[in-house]
């Protein structure tokens, strides 16, 4: 079996791992975690593109925090993780039958993995991480992958011979696909592990807005959490003050490497910070790009401005790509606000709407019926006159009529949305502007 598989880390694997087919990589913190790998390759690509001499300075190597104090994570959260590790790994008297589980969740780039790695390193614990066996052709599917996963978790109680650490934890970040498709299998795995393994297992899940890939909710529903008494630490998005500190640290680092880096201007940094949306990894990448000295060019004011402009554009684009889900929900509320509280411009004796209605409509074209439901739920509070409200309700009634009638082709959806959006904006003659809580549409639970 082994002969036809190519394992990157095979040579350093212990004899024991001959039995298991999965990649058992003992990662020392900060060096090999996949995100850094990714970042590294990115850097290399970038460098090879430019004609500039490859800098001998590994930016990311240096930027990655090395001690707990350098982490851009709220100290309270760090303490929580430390406490958990203390409790389950460092106290031998608590030799529980069940191996303890921990779930760390948080948005992308909130420093979950780095935190865990650094803490473990500082406490002298080794981390073995599960990596999906992707280089094993496509034969492996479903059960096979699961059994490997199980084996990995079960086998992890044997320490590798070359490991100097005595304590160890198992890290699962890369959930096997099969598990995501069928969470019940994952529950079986958990059941199995709860008595098979004795090293603690840490699961790291990235939060996401869409339900289908929200691992925390899918793989760790409440009853499972309770059953295996799984601890849960949820990280928040990186606070801007912490982010600023991190950038400051990064500036310090590149100061003495004038040969390959320039200091980005304050406004560039501001732009980066503004678009970061609490994603420290993304921020660092942006910062890195901004500080690269492009082929020895000395930026003039003109080009600086330009680069700033282009940067901002790039930043925007980037943040949109990374944080699509965030954008959407924010957009929904913005959109609702615009439709419900339309601003008008006086044009001569008449007036027109100051917002670009077409853009609004385009934004919600993906799920018009949900948007209309939201509008319906909330419009009454913004209307000050019965006649207006009467018009508005009429408009919404027409609109849902159109939306309901769609038969496969989406053509009717857009005119329907236009009707609703424009109608509500135009008829709101006596608008009431006060703060109102936006309410979600009522869902019928007609189980009675």
């Amino acid at each position: 079996m082994e002969t036809n598989k190519k394992w990157k880390h095979f040579d350093f694997g212990p004899l024991k791992s001959n039995v298991s087919k999965e990649k058992l990589s003992n990662v020392s913190p900060k060096k090999n975690s996949p995100e850094l790998h990714k970042a590294n390759t990115k850097v290399l690509n970038k460098k090879s593109c430019s004609t500039y001499k490859i800098p001998t300075f590994d930016f990311h190597e240096n930027l990655t925090p090395k001690s707990i104090s350098e982490l851009a994570v709220h100290p309270k959260k760090i303490q929580e993780v430390v406490d958990w590790i203390e409790k389950y790994v460092h106290s031998p008297e608590q030799n529980l039958k069940k191996s303890p589980f921990l779930v760390i969740s948080g948005p992308t780039g909130s420093g979950k993995t780095v935190t865990l790695n650094i803490i473990c390193k500082s406490m002298g614990i080794s981390v073995s991480e599960w990596v999906n066996p992707i280089d094993q052709d496509y034969e492996i599917k479903g059960q096979n992958q699961i059994s490997q996963f199980m084996e990995f978790l079960g086998d992890s109680k044997w320490n590798s011979l070359f490991d100097s650490y005595v304590k160890k934890i198992t890290l699962v970040k890369d959930f096997p696909n099969a598990v995501i498709h069928r969470p019940e299998q994952f529950f079986d795995v958990l059941e199995e592990c709860s008595y098979k393994t004795d090293s603690p297992i840490v699961f790291i899940c990235t939060d996401s807005n869409s339900n289908s890939i929200n691992l925390v909710r899918m793989l760790f529903p409440d009853e499972i959490m309770a059953k295996y008494s799984i601890a849960h630490i949820s990280f928040n998005a990186c606070a801007s003050s912490l982010m600023k500190n991190a950038i400051k640290r990064a500036m310090e680092l590149i100061k003495d490497r004038k040969d390959c880096f320039k200091q980005p201007s304050a406004s560039t940094i501001e732009a980066i910070l503004a678009s970061s949306m609490g994603d420290i990894r993304n921020t660092m990448n942006q910062f890195y790009l901004a500080s690269l000295k492009e082929a020895g060019e000395i930026p003039t004011i003109q080009s600086l401005k330009e680069s700033k402009g282009s940067k901002r554009k790039k930043v925007d684009k980037n943040s949109k790509l990374k944080g699509m889900s965030k954008d959407e929900s924010l957009g929904l509320f913005h959109g609702l606000g615009r439709v419900l509280c339309p601003k008008r411009e006086q044009v001569g004796a008449s007036w027109r709407l100051s917002h670009n209605v077409g853009k609004l409509v385009d934004e919600f074209a993906i799920q018009p019926s949900m948007f209309v439901s939201f509008l319906f739920e909330n419009y009454l509070k913004y209307f000050g006159d019965l006649k207006d409200a009467c018009h508005a309700s009429e408009i919404l009634s027409i609109c849902t009529g159109l939306l309901d009638r769609w038969t496969g082709d989406q053509e009717a959806l857009i005119p329907a949305l236009w009707t609703a959006v424009l109608g509500l904006m135009v008829f709101n003659d006596h608008k009431v502007s006060r703060w109102n809580q936006i309410r979600g549409p009522v869902k019928f639970n007609k189980s009675c």
């Binding site: 019926s369 309901d404 019928f444 007609k446 009675c448």
Partner: protein, 384 residues
């Protein structure tokens, strides 16, 4: 999401009926209980004799379809063309249109029978609206059928035309995409296949198709023709029915032969073999609303003196379970024929009739729609 709601709505209406109408589960229990008690009784009854004639299963409409093109009543235009074809000329692609029950399907079937004799079943492909008729079916089924070569002789050696006929019944209910797909097929297979499209409304057939066909309009049948046919059937089937009742049947059918024959058969069935069919049965079976209800409706609208009288009347009318759509049809006739209204009033009422009828078809509530109509009638009366 929408599907979800629909399912919920369906469930709800079901639940509603459970709560209020016929309570299904309690029903069940009751029947289960009584059913068990009757165990012994049941066996004795089940063993009784079988008295069924297979022949009766054929609806009279099928049984009395014209056998030859010449048998087709009226429709001289189409008949003469088809007769020419049968006697040797080539058959063009055909498009028959006209109100239901005027003999469109019968004509083409009769023609096919004459053309191909006994093997006519192999030479025609009949597709109607209730068959799957998406683009894919048009492409596959019609194409495979068209690809089969047809020889110029019958099995018994007699000559017959070397083509096949595809009959697309109710072609106006085909989607435009499917119709477009047909266009190409029609052109390509013209050597071996003739198409006959049958529809009620020629306006719903796309232009490129109509231009490829010879169009024939089928007129509503003359009442005397239907009467003749009905009395023939009566004689054949030994149905006891006088001329007056037959006349009534013809009247209610509105020039639709099929409807008239179906009604006659229903009446005969309902009444049993030996009994006489009277006018009441005809009205009952055809679902025609007795004139007295309509008169009362109009009178109520006319007086509109007493508050709430109209509402009560409509409620009462609805409880009689007459179909609102039928009421509209008859009311329309009455209003159009009446001298009581001037043109302006008629226009007003007619418009509302149209709107209400559309909404009813779409599933609007009968009560509210009729109330709306009633109010319009009130308004019309007050205009005078």
């Amino acid at each position: 999401m929408i599907f979800f709601f629909l399912v919920l709505a369906g469930l709800c209406s079901g639940l509603w009926k459970k709560r209020f109408g016929a309570n299904l589960s309690t029903n069940m229990q009751a029947f289960l209980k009584t059913g068990k008690l009757d165990k012994t009784q049941q066996k004795s009854v089940a063993g009784s004799s079988k008295t069924q004639k297979k022949s009766e299963l054929v609806p009279w409409v099928e049984k009395y379809r014209p056998k030859t093109v010449a048998d087709v009543v009226e429709q001289s235009e189409a008949v003469s063309v088809l007769e020419q074809c049968i006697s040797g000329a080539d058959l063009p692609n055909l498009l028959f249109y006209g109100p239901p029950g005027t003999g469109k399907t019968s004509t083409i079937l009769a023609a096919a029978r004459q053309l191909f004799g006994d093997i006519y079943k192999e030479r025609i492909l009949e597709l109607n609206a209730s068959d799957e008729r998406g683009i894919q079916v048009i492409r596959d089924k019609v194409k495979t059928f068209a690809h089969l070569t047809a020889s110029g002789t019958r099995q018994d050696g007699k000559p017959c035309p070397p083509f096949k006929i595809v009959i697309l019944d109710e072609a106006d209910s085909m989607t435009h995409a499917a119709q477009s797909a047909l266009r190409r097929t029609m052109e390509k297979e013209t050597k071996t296949t003739r198409f006959c499209l049958i529809c009620n409304y020629v306006s719903r057939i796309i232009e490129p198709l109509t231009s490829r066909c010879t169009k024939f309009r089928f007129k509503p049948l003359n009442e005397s023709m239907i009467l003749e046919r009905l009395s023939l059937i009566c004689k054949e089937e030994e149905v006891n029915c006088d001329d007056e009742t037959l006349n009534l049947l013809v009247e209610t059918s509105g020039g639709d032969m099929r409807r008239a024959i179906t009604c006659l058969q229903s009446c005969a069935k309902l009444k049993g073999r030996c009994q006489k069919i009277d006018a009441n049965t005809v009205l009952e079976v055809t679902g025609v609303v007795p004139d007295k209800w309509l008169k009362e409706f109009l009178d109520t609208c006319k007086s509109h003196a007493e508050y709430g009288k109209l509402e009560n009347f409509i409620k009462k009318l609805m409880l009689e379970a007459y179909a609102a759509s039928q009421i509209l049809v008859q009311l329309n006739e009455m209003v159009v024929a009446s001298d009581e209204f001037n043109d302006k009033q008629k226009a007003l009422i007619g418009e509302k009739l149209g709107v209400v009828s559309y909404r009813l078809q779409d599933g609007g509530s009968e009560y509210i729609q009729l109330l709306d109509l009633g109010n319009t009638l009130c308004k019309a009366y007050s205009l005078a």
